[in-house]
C-alpha cells in the first residue's frame, strides 16, 4: 500500500517561518538602532520598551516556532511511516498559530502586555495559544497512535518533551485574573512571580528553542550527512539527562536577588550539571559528520548544521559559566547576557533553521537549490554577523559590568554617573547593529533563494510503500477516548486552569490537586496491562506511553519542588508584611510602567554588593515586591536600577526627564515620552483593578475600593497642580488648545508610582505631609526608610486578618 505524506503543511510552515523571521529580525535591528541612536524611537507605540517584546516574541514564537513545526511535521511522518493524523487539525494548527502572531504584532505595540518576559501576551491570546497547542498535541499523539513503525526514533522523544513541557510552562506562568479584555493581574506576586516567570523563561529556552531543534538535529543531520547518528546510545542518555536537569535551572536568572538562597543554589548546581548532557549532544552531532568533512566544503546544508551545532556547544558552555554566582555578579543585567542569547539564537536556532530550509525546500518542490553559491555566501556573512554581534556585546557587557563596580581611591564609585558607563559602550551598540544587519541580509538572500527554488519546481508530496494498512477500529477508538485515563487528564487540566480564577490559598490546593490527578492519570496510562486487548497502550506500543509519562514526571517534579515551597509560604508572607499596597494612583502608574515596557531597560532589584548599594541604596527585600503583580525586577540594566528611585528627585525632575531625557541627562538613550502627558487614564475603571487585586489577597478594604476613583483623581490633581506652580506649565482637566499636561494623564500617575518606589508611605499621614515627602531630598529618604518598617507594621496591623487570608 502506498501512502502520501502531508507535505503541503510543511511548505506552509517553512514560508511562514522565513517571513516572520525577517520581520522579527528587522524589529530587532530597529531596537538595536534605538539603543545607539535614541531619536529612532519614532512613534509612541514603537518605543524600545514596546518593540523589544515584539522582537523577542516574533523570533521565538513566530520564526523558531514555525520552523520547528515544519521540521517536526516533515520528520514525524517519515519516522512513523504515516500521514499526519488529521489534515483539519494541521490546518487549524497552522492558521491558528499565524493568527496568534498577528494578534501579538498588534497588541504589543499598543502596550497591551502582562509585563513578563517572553510571556507578554495578554490573557485572551494566552488562551488561544493553549488551545492551538492542544490541537498540535492531539494531532501529534494521534499520529503516533496510528504509526506503522514500532520504534520511536530519538527525535520523536524530543518532540514529545517539547509538547508536554511547553503546555505546562505556558499554562502555569500565564495564570492571571482578568480586569478587562486587555488587562489582567498575575496570580503570583513578587518573589513567587519571579520564580515562576524564570522557571518558565528558562524552560522556554530549553523546550522551545532547544529540545525541538535537537530532535531536528537528530533527524536532518544524519539525512544531510547520509550516515546514521554517531552514537544512538549516547542520544538516549542525552535526552533523559537533558530533560531531567533543564527544568531546575531557572533560578540562575535570579542569583543574588531576593529569592531564597536555597533556590538560588539549586539553580546554580543544576545549571552547571547541564553542561554534561549539552556537550554530549553537541559531540554526538559533530561526530556524526566524521568522514563527511570533505562534503562540508561544498554543501551549504552541512556547513550550517556543523556551525549551528558548534554554536550550541558554545552557548551551552557559556550558560553554566554564567550560572556560577560570582560570574553572574558581573554579567547579570549587562550585555554579556545579550551576547549569550544571540550566540544561541543566531548561531544555533538561526543556522539550524537555514540548514533545514536549504535541505527541505528543494525536496519539497522536486528540484535543486536555485543557487548553492548564494547559500554559501549566506553562510559566510551570517557567521561574520554573529561574530560581530556576539563579540561587541561581550566587550560591551564586560566593560559596563566592570565600570559599575569600579572603585575610586576613597572606596566610592569611580563612575558615579550611570550615563558615563552607557557612553562607554555606545560604539559597541553600533557594531552590534552592523553584525545584526549582516545576519539579516543573509536571511533575505536565503528567502530569495528559497522562493526561486520553489518557483523553478512544483510542490511534490513524499510517498512511501508500506506493507499493509493497519485497520482502524472505530469502536475501540471511541473507547479510548472515554477511558478513565483521558477523563482524569482532563479533570487534572481543568483543576490547574481553574486555579487561575480563585484566591491564592485555593489556587495552591487546586494546583497541587491538579498536579496529583495528572500524575495519577499518567501512571494509569503506564501501568494498566493490555497485551490482549486493543487499547491505548497496544496502539501506542511499548515505548510511546512510558516515554511520555516519564518525560512528564521529569518536567513536573522540577517545577513542583521548586515553585510549591514559595507559593505555600505566600499567604503567610502577606500576613506578616510591613509593606502597604499601592495607592490607586500609584497602581495606575505602575500599570503604565508595565505597559510602556520600562522593565526592558530598568531593573528593580538591588543586589547585595557594595558597589550596588552605593549606587542605588539598600539591598532589595522580598517584602518590597510582595504586592507586585507582575513583579518588575527586570533582567537588563540599559538604564539604572529604579528600586529606590522614589524621593531621589522631585516631581519636576521626573516631568522634565520623561518629556525629554537628554535635556536632563545628556547622553541618555532613554526614549522620550511626551505623549504620556496627553494620554489620559479612565479612573472610573480603577475600582475594578483594586477589586481584582483584593481577590488575589492584596489587603484593600471595601471602602478603599469604593473611593479609589476620587482618591486617584485627588492625588493626580495635587501632583499636577504642584507641577503647574513650579514650572508655570498649563495643566488642563479636559483636552484644550495649548495644554502641557492633563491632570488625569498617564504621566502624572507614572510620576506618582516612581516616587513610591522603595518607600513605604504612612497612609494615615495628612495629605500636606505627604506632599512634602514627595519632594524630599535624598537625605530624608534614608530617614524615611529607617522609619518605614514601624509605620508599615502599624498599617498592616490595622488590616483585618480575615481579609488578608483570602
Amino acid at each position: 500500500m502506498r501512502i502520501r505524506y502531508d507535505d503541503a503543511i510543511v511548505r506552509k510552515f517553512i514560508f511562514a517561518s522565513v517571513a516572520f523571521g525577517i520581520v522579527g529580525m528587522l524589529v530587532g535591528a530597529i531596537a538595536a538602532l534605538q539603543l545607539a541612536f535614541p531619536h529612532a524611537n519614532a512613534a509612541p507605540y514603537l518605543t524600545f520598551g514596546r518593540l523589544r517584546p515584539l522582537h523577542t516574541n516574533a523570533v521565538i514564537f513566530a520564526f523558531v516556532g514555525n520552523m520547528a513545526f515544519a521540521g517536526i511535521y516533515y520528520s514525524t511522518q517519515r519516522l512513523l511511516k504515516t500521514r499526519l493524523a488529521s489534515d483539519t487539525l494541521s490546518a487549524i494548527h497552522f492558521w491558528g498559530w499565524q493568527l496568534i502572531i498577528v494578534a501579538a504584532a498588534i497588541t504589543l505595540p499598543l502596550g497591551i502586555t502582562q509585563g513578563k518576559e517572553y510571556a507578554e501576551l495578554e490573557w485572551p491570546i494566552d488562551i488561544a495559544i493553549a488551545v492551538i497547542w492542544v490541537v498540535f498535541a492531539v494531532n501529534f499523539f494521534w499520529t503516533i497512535a496510528k504509526r506503522r513503525e514500532k520504534h520511536l526514533y530519538v527525535a520523536i522523544w524530543f518532540y514529545i518533551a517539547t509538547i508536554l513541557a511547553i503546555a505546562m510552562l505556558h499554562i502555569v506562568n500565564a495564570l492571571a485574573v482578568p480586569v478587562s479584555i486587555t488587562k489582567s493581574y498575575s496570580v503570583f506576586a513578587g518573589v513567587q512571580d519571579a520564580l515562576v516567570q524564570w522557571w518558565y523563561g528558562h524552560n522556554a529556552v530549553a523546550f522551545f528553542l532547544t529540545t525541538p531543534i535537537l530532535g531536528i538535529m537528530y533527524y536532518y543531520l544524519p539525512k544531510a550527512a547520509e550516515r546514521p547518528v554517531y552514537s544512538y546510545r549516547l542520544s538516549i542518555i542525552h535526552f533523559w539527562s537533558l530533560v531531567f536537569i533543564y527544568i531546575w535551572a531557572g533560578p540562575h536568572h535570579l542569583l543574588y536577588t531576593a529569592l531564597p538562597d536555597w533556590a538560588q543554589t539549586l539553580g546554580m548546581i543544576f545549571s552547571v550539571m547541564l553542561w554534561a548532557p549539552s556537550w554530549g549532544g553537541m559531540l554526538n552531532g559533530l561526530l556524526t559528520l566524521r568522514g563527511a568533512w570533505d562534503k562540508l566544503r561544498t554543501d551549504p546544508v552541512l556547513k550550517f548544521f556543523a556551525a549551528g551545532v558548534t554554536f550550541y556547544g558554545m552557548a551551552t558552555f557559556e550558560g553554566p559559566l554564567l550560572s556560577i554566582k560570582s560570574v553572574s555578579g558581573l554579567a547579570h543585567y549587562t550585555d554579556w547576557i545579550v551576547a549569550h542569547v544571540h550566540g544561541g539564537g543566531l548561531g544555533w536556532n538561526g543556522f539550524m533553521a537555514a540548514g533545514m530550509f536549504y535541505w527541505l525546500v528543494p525536496r519539497l518542490y522536486g528540484t535543486e537549490l536555485k543557487s548553492r553559491s548564494l547559500a554559501n555566501f549566506h553562510f559566510w556573512i551570517g557567521t561574520l554577523g554573529i561574530l560581530l554581534y556576539v563579540g561587541s556585546m561581550w566587550v560591551s557587557g564586560i566593560t559596563q559590568g566592570l565600570m559599575w563596580r569600579a572603585e575610586n581611591e576613597g572606596g566610592g564609585l569611580l563612575y558615579a554617573s550611570f550615563v558615563e558607563t552607557l557612553q562607554a559602550i555606545v560604539p559597541m551598540y553600533w557594531m552590534r547593529l552592523v553584525g545584526g544587519s549582516l545576519y539579516l541580509a543573509g536571511f533575505v538572500l536565503m528567502a530569495w533563494n528559497l522562493i526561486a527554488t520553489a518557483r523553478q519546481g512544483k510542490p511534490v508530496d513524499g510517498e512511501v510503500e508500506v506493507p499493509v494498512d493497519v485497520p482502524v477500529d472505530r469502536k475501540t477508538q471511541f473507547k479510548l477516548l472515554v477511558s478513565p485515563q483521558v477523563w482524569l487528564s482532563l479533570l487534572g487540566l481543568g483543576l490547574v486552569i481553574s486555579a487561575g480564577f480563585v484566591g491564592p490559598a485555593q489556587a495552591i490546593v487546586l494546583l497541587s490537586l491538579g498536579a496529583f490527578v495528572l500524575l495519577f492519570s499518567l501512571l494509569l496510562f503506564s501501568v494498566s496491562k493490555s497485551s490482549s486487548e486493543k487499547t491505548w497502550h497496544a496502539k501506542l506500543e511499548r515505548s510511546a506511553a512510558p516515554f511520555t509519562i516519564l518525560t512528564a514526571i521529569a518536567v513536573i517534579i522540577g517545577g513542583v519542588a521548586e515553585i510549591l515551597p514559595t507559593v505555600v509560604a505566600a499567604p503567610e508572607a502577606v500576613r506578616a508584611t510591613t509593606n502597604v499596597p499601592y495607592s490607586p494612583l500609584e497602581l495606575e502608574g505602575r500599570d503604565v510602567y508595565v505597559s510602556e515596557g520600562c522593565y526592558n531597560c530598568h531593573s528593580q532589584m538591588i543586589r547585595p554588593f557594595v558597589w550596588e548599594t552605593a549606587r542605588y541604596g539598600a539591598v532589595s527585600t522580598p517584602d518590597e515586591s510582595i504586592f507586585d503583580r507582575p513583579f518588575q525586577w527586570g533582567s537588563k540594566r540599559t538604564g539604572p536600577d529604579l528600586a529606590r528611585v522614589g524621593g531621589r528627585y522631585n516631581d519636576v525632575w521626573h516631568y522634565q526627564h520623561m518629556l525629554d531625557p537628554r535635556q536632563i541627562s545628556a547622553g541618555s538613550n532613554m526614549p522620550a515620552y511626551p505623549h504620556l502627558a496627553e494620554q489620559v487614564i479612565d479612573f472610573t475603571k480603577t475600582p475594578d483593578k483594586l477589586r481584582v487585586m483584593r481577590s488575589l489577597g492584596v489587603p484593600y478594604s471595601p471602602e478603599e475600593i469604593a473611593t479609589s476613583t476620587e482618591d486617584a483623581k485627588r492625588e493626580a490633581e495635587r501632583i499636577a497642580r504642584g507641577l503647574e506652580s513650579s514650572l508655570g506649565i498649563r495643566v488642563c482637566d479636559a483636552p484644550a488648545e495649548g495644554c502641557d499636561l492633563m491632570v488625569d494623564s498617564k504621566l502624572v500617575a507614572l510620576i506618582s508610582y516612581l516616587q513610591r518606589l522603595g518607600r513605604v508611605p504612612d497612609r494615615n499621614a495628612a495629605p500636606a505631609a505627604a506632599a512634602e515627602q514627595v519632594d524630599a531630598p535624598t537625605a530624608e529618604v534614608e530617614a524615611n526608610e529607617a522609619a518605614a518598617p514601624a509605620e508599615g507594621a502599624e498599617a498592616a496591623a490595622d488590616v483585618d486578618e480575615g481579609e488578608v487570608a483570602r
Partner: protein, 59 residues
C-alpha cells in the same frame, strides 16, 4: 555526625527536602535508563539508528 549534618542542612529550610527527593528520583531514573540503554541489544539500537535514513519517494 550524620544527624548533625542533616540538622544544619535542614535548618536553612525544611523545604530542602523537595530538591533532595527530586535528586534521588533523578538519580534512580538516570541509572535505570542508562542500564537499560546499555543492555539494549545491538540490533535494536542499529535498527533505530537507521530510521531517518530510510528513503521515501518524492512525487
Amino acid at each position: 555526625m550524620m544527624s548533625r549534618m542533616a540538622e544544619s542542612f535542614f535548618a536553612v529550610s525544611p523545604m530542602l527536602a523537595f530538591p533532595l527527593v527530586a535528586m534521588v528520583i533523578f538519580g534512580a531514573v538516570f541509572l535505570a535508563i542508562s542500564m537499560r540503554t546499555m543492555r539494549t541489544p545491538n540490533e535494536v539500537i542499529e535498527r533505530r539508528r537507521a530510521l531517518p535514513l530510510e528513503e521515501d519517494h518524492h512525487g
